[in-house]
C-alpha cells in the first residue's frame, strides 16, 4: 500500500481540525480540534518516518505529544479559570481583548 495515503488522511484530519477550531464555540471542543490537528501532524510525521526509513519522525511525534500534553494541561486550566469568572465556556464570551 502506498504510504502517501496516510498523508492524505493526515491532511484531511488537519483540515477538519482547523475548521473545527474556527467554527465551534465551546472552548473544550475547540481544544479537542486543536488536538486533532496535532494528531494529524503526528500521523504525518510517523508516515514520513516510515517513508524515509528513519526513526527521527517518530521522535518528533513523541515530542509533539509531550508538548500537546503540556498545552492541554495549561489550556484546560485556563478554561476552568475563565469558566469560573465568566460562567461560560464559549470562546466568544472572552472577547475583551479588543478593548
Amino acid at each position: 500500500m502506498d504510504a502517501a495515503n496516510y498523508l492524505y488522511l493526515s491532511v484531511l484530519l488537519f483540515t477538519i481540525g482547523a475548521v473545527g477550531v474556527v467554527v465551534r464555540r465551546n472552548a473544550i471542543v475547540v481544544f479537542m480540534c486543536i488536538e486533532l490537528m496535532l494528531n494529524a501532524a503526528n500521523l504525518a510525521f510517523v508516515t514520513f518516518s516510515r517513508i524515509n526509513g528513519d526513526l527521527n519522525g517518530q521522535v518528533v511525534a513523541f515530542f509533539t505529544m509531550v508538548v500537546a500534553a503540556c498545552e492541554v494541561v495549561v489550556g484546560l486550566a485556563i478554561i476552568v479559570t475563565i469558566y469560573r469568572s465568566r460562567r461560560s465556556a464559549s470562546v466568544d464570551d472572552a472577547s475583551l481583548l479588543k478593548r
Binding site: 504510504a3 491532511v11 484530519l13 526509513g53 526513526l55 517518530q58 515530542f63 494541561v73 495549561v74
Partner: protein, 263 residues
Amino acid sequence: MIELALAVGQTQTPEAVMFWILAPLTVAAAFGMLLVKKAVHSAILMASVMINLAIFYIAQDALFLGIVQIVVYTGAVMMLFLFILMLVGVDSSDSLTETITGLRPIAITAAVGFGGLMVSLLSRATLGRSAVGLQVANENGNVKGIAQLLFSTYVWPFEVVSALLITAALGAMVLAHHQRLQTRPTQRELSTERFRGISLANAAGLPAPGVFARHNAVDVPALLPDGSPAANSVNATLEARGDMLNSGAFELGKIDTSAGEEK
C-alpha cells in the same frame, strides 16, 4: 482521480484493508466532532479518532507511539478533557448557529483551499516514490530504536521538554488555584447564620428539588404549598447555566399560563 484509482488498486495488502476500513471511520468521527452539539459527544468521537490513529501508528511500525497514543492520549488527556467537561457541565449543548457573520463561509472556503492545495502539493512531492520502510531502523525493536535516538541525538530537547512539562504542571496549578478572600465559614457559623438570619424559612435547609412537582428530576423546582415553584430548590449553577427547566411549566393549575419566575 486516476491517481486515486491507482492508489486504490495498489491497496491490496492487509494493511490496505485495515486502512480503507479505518480511515473513513476516522474521517467520519472527525467530521462528527464538528457537527455534534454536545461537547461530550465530541470528546468521545475524538477518543475514537485517537484510537484509530494509534492503530495507524502501529500499522506503520511505530509501536511505541501507538501505545503512547492510547495510554497517554486516549487514556490520560482525553480523560482530562472529560473531567473538565464534567466540571463545566456535561449537559451543556452548543448552538451551532454562527454568530460572527461571514466566518463560516470563510473558514470552509479556506479549509477546502487548504486541503486542496496540500493534497496537490503532496501528490507532487510523493508521486513515484515508494516508502523505504522501517525494517532496518526497527532491527532492535521500535522502543529501543526510539530510546537510542532520544537519549543520544535528542537528549537536550528531551530535557527541555521535561522542564516544559513540569512548568506546565506548575502553571496549571497556579491557574487553577483559587485564592479565598475570606476565611471559610465554620459549621457553627453556618448554623448560626441559618437560625439568626432574616427568615427562619431556610432553617431546616433548602427545599429539595422536585418535591410535589410532577417530575422529581434535579432540575425541576419544588412546589410551594400555594402551588408556585420554589426557585431556591434548584442548584444555582443549573439556573445560571440555563439548564434549569422552566418551572412555570410545572406549576399547579397554571400549566398553560406563563408565570414569571420569582427571584
